[in-house]
């Protein structure tokens, strides 16, 4: 009987010890998990700030406002818009010509870029290419003097590489 009691007592002690060890282990695991979670969270915060600061630095290196291509294009085309309005041409087609059109060559990427930027600045006029029977002609000599003599046309504006001609009288 005494022996049985001893066995039970030792079993009980073993269980308690196991319980304690297990509890400690679980608690330690939970603590470890919490620590790892905190570390991951801290790493996310560091990443976020690192990236935002890098973004701010990249922003500082942007070209100044006056160097923005669209701002420059808007300034260049402002007098052309004024003249068209003054002439009572409120919207409609305007032929857009570059030296490639005079030379009957396909447009360069720079021609395309200048056409799209000019079109944006000139809305609601439509800058058409490969067409010259429009009331006005806008010529962009960005790469040097014109390859063709256009003196027969009425020049309305000439400045900063842009020339506006009137092709036909408005009704």
């Amino acid at each position: 009987m005494l022996r049985l009691e001893r066995v039970f007592a030792s079993l009980h002690t073993t269980c308690l010890l196991f319980d304690q060890v297990w509890f400690d282990r679980v608690r330690r695991l939970a603590k470890l998990k919490q620590f790892l979670r905190f570390t991951a969270g801290a790493a996310i915060v560091v990443c976020a700030y690192w990236n935002v600061v890098a973004f701010n630095q990249a922003t500082e290196s942007l070209a100044p406002r006056d160097g923005d291509e669209i701002v420059m294009r808007e300034k260049r085309l402002a007098p052309v818009r004024q003249i068209l309005l003054f002439n009572g041409y409120l919207s409609g087609e305007i032929a857009f010509i570059t030296n490639r059109d005079f030379d009957r060559l396909p447009p360069l990427p720079e021609d395309d870029k200048r056409w799209s930027q000019s079109q944006y600045a000139m809305i609601p006029w439509v800058l058409v290419r490969n067409k010259r029977d429009t009331p006005f002609l806008l010529v962009d000599f960005w790469d040097g003097p014109p390859h063709q003599n256009l003196e027969a046309l009425t020049k309305l504006y000439d400045g900063d590489g842009l020339v506006l001609f009137q092709v036909k009288k408005l009704p």
């Binding site: 969270g41 996310i44 990236n51 890098a54 406002r65 079109q119 944006y120």
Partner: protein, 447 residues
């Protein structure tokens, strides 16, 4: 920008936020009062864009008449307190972590908008182009759409820019950036608040910070593109669908879905990808029809009711617009069988998936670690709500994949010019879905 211009721009923004707040506060329960506020600018932008498209000239009359109704509405509801996931309940360290990051981002926004007032290439060539048409071409603006770069694109972003110009009385180029910036901040707030509501403020803050710390996301916010507004509408709809499913016991759940439908509809009025999102959301909501027929149909009805007005406007625009979409080409379906196209798309996805944010320090490993160590909530992951969100995002991604597969544009050029933006559109929603995998914060659940 002069003081009076800033004042008029603020007035335009204030009126649209008031519209949005009335809409969100009438459809969301008072517990979500901070979320109402975060969703208000987007919802208001949608309302104002529809007014401009449908009424055009008497825009001010309609807006101010509606504003009168709204003021009366707000006056009646003036006792509503900002309860629920209240900002003042957030632990101070979390707020202290977030505010400097937001301030830094705001500073960069101001500098970028000042130096690039017309935005980047697509900003002026597509969106501001259409805004100028709406503002400059008078009632004949539709006649000029065939000359636009993508004349079939929906008009929410250009409408908002043109509306700002109508308020100021002249063109302020920076006005095009307002919507992107405001909705970028709102996306950060919606992500943080939704996760705070459903999983805990800590997780909400960390994932919101991840979004703030995505440089390409911040860059596109000021580029005057439509991708950040679109991402906001995706996120708003997805967040509300998640709240609908996770707050089953609360009353007014169907109204939450109606607002989700409205935001999805606004996505459709922002970009064509939004139309794909609407159909994906409807399909995903319809999927449990075999198990819970009546409940599913009620959900779909609520979602569709919210999306009805935006969809009607989209249909009117598409039917009255002669310009056809030049990116989706269903006629070339034999491309689907071309394995080299599949291989190219997959290789580009692999290349862009971890770099689309242009991070200096990638957050993916810490994010993964956070989800793993917070513990994955198996019940939530197996739940209908989370699976619906995953299904929506899967269908949207599959739609993008199909468009690449059949594009009439040279595949390499198309992918390189758009994949990072497509990933940025779904990035806030993916962060939300990732956050919703985690176990909720026990302390918050108990409180």
């Amino acid at each position: 920008m002069t003081n009076s211009t800033a004042l008029y721009l603020s007035l335009a923004l204030g009126v649209s936020i008031a519209f949005g707040y009335c809409l969100t506060s009438s459809l969301l329960p008072s517990r979500l009062s901070w979320l109402r506020l975060a969703l208000a600018p987007g919802a208001g932008a949608g309302v104002c864009a529809f007014i401009l498209f449908l009424f055009r000239r008497p825009m001010f009359t309609v807006e101010f008449a509606l504003l009168g109704v709204m003021v009366w509405f707000l006056w009646r509801r003036r006792r509503v307190a900002f309860t629920g996931m209240n900002i003042s309940d957030w632990p101070a360290p979390l707020l202290a972590l977030t505010i400097p990051a937001l301030t830094l981002a705001a500073y960069a926004f101001v500098v970028r908008v000042y130096r690039m007032p017309h935005g980047n290439w697509d900003g002026w060539a597509i969106w501001n182009w259409e805004a100028r048409l709406l503002y400059r071409a008078g009632p004949h603006w539709r006649d000029f759409l065939p000359f636009a770069f993508h004349g079939d694109y929906p008009l929410l972003v250009p409408s908002m820019t043109a509306r700002f110009w109508r308020y100021t009385g002249f063109e302020v180029p920076e006005a095009g950036a307002w919507l992107g910036i405001v909705l970028a901040f709102c996306s950060i707030a919606v992500l943080g608040l939704t996760l705070a509501e459903l999983r805990g403020a800590g997780l909400g803050t960390l994932l919101a910070l991840t979004l703030v710390g995505t440089p390409n996301y911040l860059a596109y916010a000021t580029s005057q593109y439509a991708d950040i507004p679109l991402g906001f509408f995706f996120l708003g709809a997805v967040a509300l669908i998640a709240i609908h499913f996770e707050r089953e016991a609360q009353p007014g759940r169907m109204r939450i879905l109606a607002l989700a439908g409205f935001l999805a509809g606004c996505a459709g009025w922002t970009k064509n990808e939004g139309i794909l999102f609407i159909s994906s959301a409807c399909t995903a909501l319809l999927l449990p029809a075999f198990r819970q027929r009546s409940q599913t149909l009620r959900r779909l009805a609520a979602f569709s009711a919210g999306a009805a007005l935006p969809l009607a406007v989209i249909v009117i625009f598409k039917l009255t617009n002669q310009v056809q979409n030049d990116i989706v080409a269903y006629g070339k379906l034999q491309k689907v069988l071309d394995l080299s196209r599949h291989a190219m798309i997959v290789s580009y996805v692999g290349k862009h998936l971890f770099s689309f944010g242009v991070w200096s320090l990638s957050p993916f490993i810490p994010l993964l670690a956070l989800i793993v160590f917070t513990g994955i909530d198996r019940r939530a992951v197996a739940g209908l709500g989370w699976l619906t969100l995953v299904c929506i995002m899967f269908l949207v991604s599959a739609g993008y994949y199909f468009v690449y597969l059949t594009t009439p544009i040279e595949l390499k050029v198309h992918i390189e010019s758009s994949m990072d933006r497509l990933l940025l559109q779904i990035w806030p929603s993916l962060l939300l879905i990732g956050g919703l995998m985690c176990k909720p914060d026990v302390r918050q659940t108990e409180s």
